[in-house]
């Protein structure tokens, strides 16, 4: 269409839009240009600050704790007197036990809740909408609040489990559960509805269609969410301090009884001591934990890449 054939009214609109575009992209307005430069610099600055902070922490940990990296760090028991040979053994074992418990709890609960909300709940019902909203809010609640909850209801109160690793597991599971539910719901939403329809059009029940078609298709996405939640759980110290992991443990923990510790809690213990040798030990512990988190996150990234599906 040539411009001369365009009606007058459209022409003026086109001119106006062209002018607006030029104002945005052209160099004609110096004020706009300066504003855009300022804005970009501000973005760059905030990113740099974040990056420097991360690099700072990592390099501090490497410089400070690098010398202590050894197998003994992982396998030796902690000690209050000989920081040179002290290690993280019970804390690492405690962390693994807690994480195993967390995984065992969040997979059925998180996936089940997500399936219910996405596939079975009637969104027109007010209580289902209330549940949805509350799960989103719960994901933003500070972890210390979950610690208090765990102390009141799991360690003491109705469950009365005592200060054991299982109680720590349950507390951390509650903490990451909202995240797992939200991530699993996203994974289910990403499965095209045509899959469910196609299955149900064959005369299978909704439950069969969800279980055999939707769930397997959503599984990789759910797994990614679960692993990222686990990565977060590894680093959680605050709620564990409240539910019993504060004690200085020098024996291998038992999931169901006795004192326990966890990697971040132990780091916190060592870092709080006056002697410099313990600070070195704490820095080395930070490196161990960073390594663990990087491994777990890499698994998540790898899974996502492997199962990424285009519909």
């Amino acid at each position: 269409m040539t411009s001369s054939s365009v009606p007058k009214r459209s022409r003026s609109a086109m001119d106006a839009s062209a002018a607006a575009t030029q104002a945005l992209y052209g160099a004609s307005d110096p004020g706009l240009r300066i504003r855009s430069i300022v804005f970009r610099s501000a973005l760059l600055l905030s990113m740099t600050v974040a990056l420097i902070a991360i690099i700072g922490i990592i390099s501090w940990a490497v410089v400070e704790g690098g010398q202590r990296l050894s197998l003994g760090l992982l396998t030796n028991n902690p000690s209050s007197f000989r920081p040179e040979t002290a290690g993280y053994r019970p804390a690492i074992l405690g962390s693994f036990q807690i994480i195993a418990g967390v995984i065992a709890l969040i997979i059925p609960l998180g996936v089940g809740a997500a399936l219910y909300l996405e596939q079975f709940a009637n969104k027109q019902r007010w209580y289902n909408r209330a549940i949805e909203l509350n799960i989103q809010n719960l994901a933003g609640v500070p972890s210390i609040v979950f610690g208090i909850l765990g102390l009141a209801f799991i360690v003491r109160g109705p469950l009365d489990m005592g200060f054991i690793a299982a109680a720590g597991s349950a507390t951390i599971a509650l903490l990451v559960l909202p995240t797992v539910i939200l991530a699993s719901r996203e994974a289910i939403k990403a499965v095209p509805p045509s899959l469910l329809e196609g299955a149900m059009a064959l005369g299978v029940t909704r439950w069969q269609a969800v279980w055999k078609m939707v769930l397997p298709a959503a599984a990789p996405g759910m797994l990614t969410g679960i692993i990222l939640a686990v990565a977060r759980a590894i680093g959680e110290a605050a709620p564990l301090l409240l539910v019993g992991a504060a004690t200085f443990v020098t024996f291998d923990p038992n999931f169901w009884e006795g004192g326990y510790s966890a990697l971040p809690v132990m780091i916190y213990q060592y870092a709080g001591r006056p002697q410099d040798e313990f600070h070195v030990l704490a820095a080395a512990g930070v490196l161990v934990m960073l390594g663990l988190v990087v491994v777990v996150n890499s698994v998540a990234v790898w899974l996502r890449a492997k199962y990424e599906r285009t519909w």
Binding site: Q124, S194, G198, A199, M200, A201, L202, G203
Partner: protein, 275 residues
């Protein structure tokens, strides 16, 4: 599992043209809005009935109400009398899951399961616990969908590796594997090239010997080529309420609809003078 009132459903009909469905004053709502109003027409056994009409006139809505796929849409509601072999499809004693087994559906966009070709066809019979050798059921369904020769050597391959036309025939195979009585097709060829379209039309002509077929199509030639009966729908807008509702304009032999329709709106639509 309820038996869907088998005697009632399979009631013998003396006439040569057995009515499979009979719709009488059917209204379908989505929430509060009336999507199609007062639809009445029969669908006969071993015939192809096509539903045609402009976009939004409620063809898919009517099709999906025939096998209660509409139940999956929150707020969708069907009123009026919709009978299948004399039994009310929306009766309180009817199990919608069972309805969908007897009345299968093929969708506009081929939607194979993200599994192997074999598993795609085997899923229905297996999940429903149908008797018989699964390999035989799968082969029979693929033969029935005119796909066996093309895929018999690669049954273990993922279905996504097939062409669009093959995928659609796989979806037909998957549907006939559960041995339905009726096959509903919602624009089954709109995503396909002419050769694949031709193959599916050819297949439909064969399938109607064993099944009753209802097809929604935007392709006039397709309706004219394959359908025995044709129902033409249009949108009637009510300016006072600002609502748009689908209505059935005319139902008749396909030849009559295309050569000598009773209603001017049908005439305009089939000759392309619509709009």
């Amino acid at each position: 599992m309820k038996e869907l009132g088998k005697e009632k459903l399979m009631a013998e009909s003396a006439s040569t043209k057995e009515e499979v469905f009979s719709l009488d004053g059917v209204n379908v709502y989505y929430g509060d809005s009336l999507a199609v109003k007062d639809v009445s027409f029969p669908i006969y056994k071993n015939e192809i009935t096509s539903l045609i009409g402009p976009s939004g006139c409620g063809k898919s809505t009517i099709l999906r109400s025939l096998n209660r796929m509409n139940d999956l849409i929150p707020g969708a509601r069907v009123e009026g009398d919709l009978q299948y072999h004399g039994a009310d499809i929306y009766g309180s004693d009817i199990d919608p899951v069972q309805v969908r087994k007897i009345i299968g559906m093929v969708f506009q966009k081929p939607n194979p399961f993200p599994k192997s070709i074999y598993e795609n066809v085997a899923f229905g019979p297996q999940t429903l616990g149908m008797k018989g050798n699964l390999d035989d059921i799968v082969e029979e369904a693929l033969v029935g969908a005119a796909l066996w020769d093309e895929v018999k050597d690669r049954l273990k391959d993922n279905a996504f590796g097939m062409s669009g036309g093959q995928q659609q025939r796989l979806c037909i195979a998957r549907t006939i594997a559960v041995k339905p009585d009726v096959i509903l097709m919602d624009e089954p060829c709109s995503a396909l090239d002419p050769v694949s379209t031709y193959k599916i039309e050819d297949l439909m002509m064969k399938l109607k010997e064993d099944y009753t077929i209802v097809i929604v199509t935007h392709n006039m030639q397709q309706a004219a080529r394959v359908a025995d009966k044709t129902a033409f729908f249009t949108v009637s807008s009510n300016d006072e309420e600002g609502s748009r509702t689908g209505v059935l304009v005319e139902f008749d032999e396909t030849g009559k609809i295309f050569s000598n329709p009773a209603d001017q709106r049908t005439q305009d639509y089939v000759t392309g003078r619509f709009g």
